[in-house]
Point group: C2
Chain length 138, copies 2
DNA sequence: TAAATTACTTGCAACTTGCAAGTAATTTTA
DNA sequence: TAAAATTACTTGCAAGTTGCAAGTAATTTA
């Protein structure tokens, strides 16, 4: 007799499989909050990701359903990386992490207006950030 | 002339330094939500952390101010790992991550009542979970 | 048509992880 | 009270992952 409960993996465990490495969250940050869309733009983030690591992460993120790879029809060398809803729904996670870091690390800063709005009207801020990201990529 | 703005590190970057590896968040989950307090208990989590990795992570977590190591005066072999406020303030991050995983991975499950309360009265749930964790370790 | 640009891939050394075995300080058991 | 068990680790080494430098294929620009 099979168990009626097949769902038994820990949610933290699943999240770590998808973005629990040194780079995936930074790439998501750049795509979601900095408006980057191209490989060359992602290469310029100040954390200095290596080109082979970026390539392998983008491939894994596509496999995991976080991004979609689209060729630019006007310049066929270029690839756009578009975010899926699954990725956009990590915005609250990024904001919650940011709130924590700003409290506990004196060398860390986030745009104060962003943090103020996250405290005062989180739902509206999240909706706006998602819309902004969606608009950028259409 | 030095810049007036010395705070310039990205909050995501700081968080990744502290818990952006494969194991730290799982150890925090076990200490915060499963009520584990001892090395031997942490060794039994189903993800199967290696003993040397657990030891090195606990050391780093102490350095980073997430846990405090306390010897049991009644059995001097035993060590209690206690959570700091800095660690307890990651509860919202863990809950936000869990919400995302439950939505996007069909094999993932979290206690439904927990998720319901996180949607309906997040502040109270967070306060309760923090209190429960604090109570366990005193 | 040669140079530049874009998005990668390849090769290799250095670092990190995972597994198995071992150890020191206690506490329990026979 | 001596031997066995328990607890919290450490050590050694093989296997996997990351980081750096260089190279490449397909375009587009000068």
């Amino acid at each position: 007799m099979p168990s009626s409960k097949l769902n038994n993996k820990c949610p933290i465990d699943y999240a770590l499989e998808v973005f629990g490495d040194r780079w995936t969250l930074l790439v998501l940050r750049d795509l979601m909050l900095s408006g980057k869309r191209h490989y060359r733009e992602l290469m310029t983030s100040k954390e200095g990701i290596a080109t082979n690591i970026l390539a392998s992460r983008l491939q894994k993120m596509e496999t995991d359903g976080l991004i979609i790879r689209k060729q630019n029809s006007e310049d066929k060398r270029q690839i756009f990386y578009e975010l899926t809803e699954k990725a956009l729904d990590l915005i609250p996670v990024l904001l919650e992490i940011s709130r924590w870091s700003v409290i506990y690390d004196k060398d860390t800063a986030a745009p104060p207006e962003l943090m103020r709005r996250f405290n005062e009207e989180p739902q509206q801020l999240i909706a706006e950030l998602k819309d902004a990201a969606r608009t950028r990529q259409t």
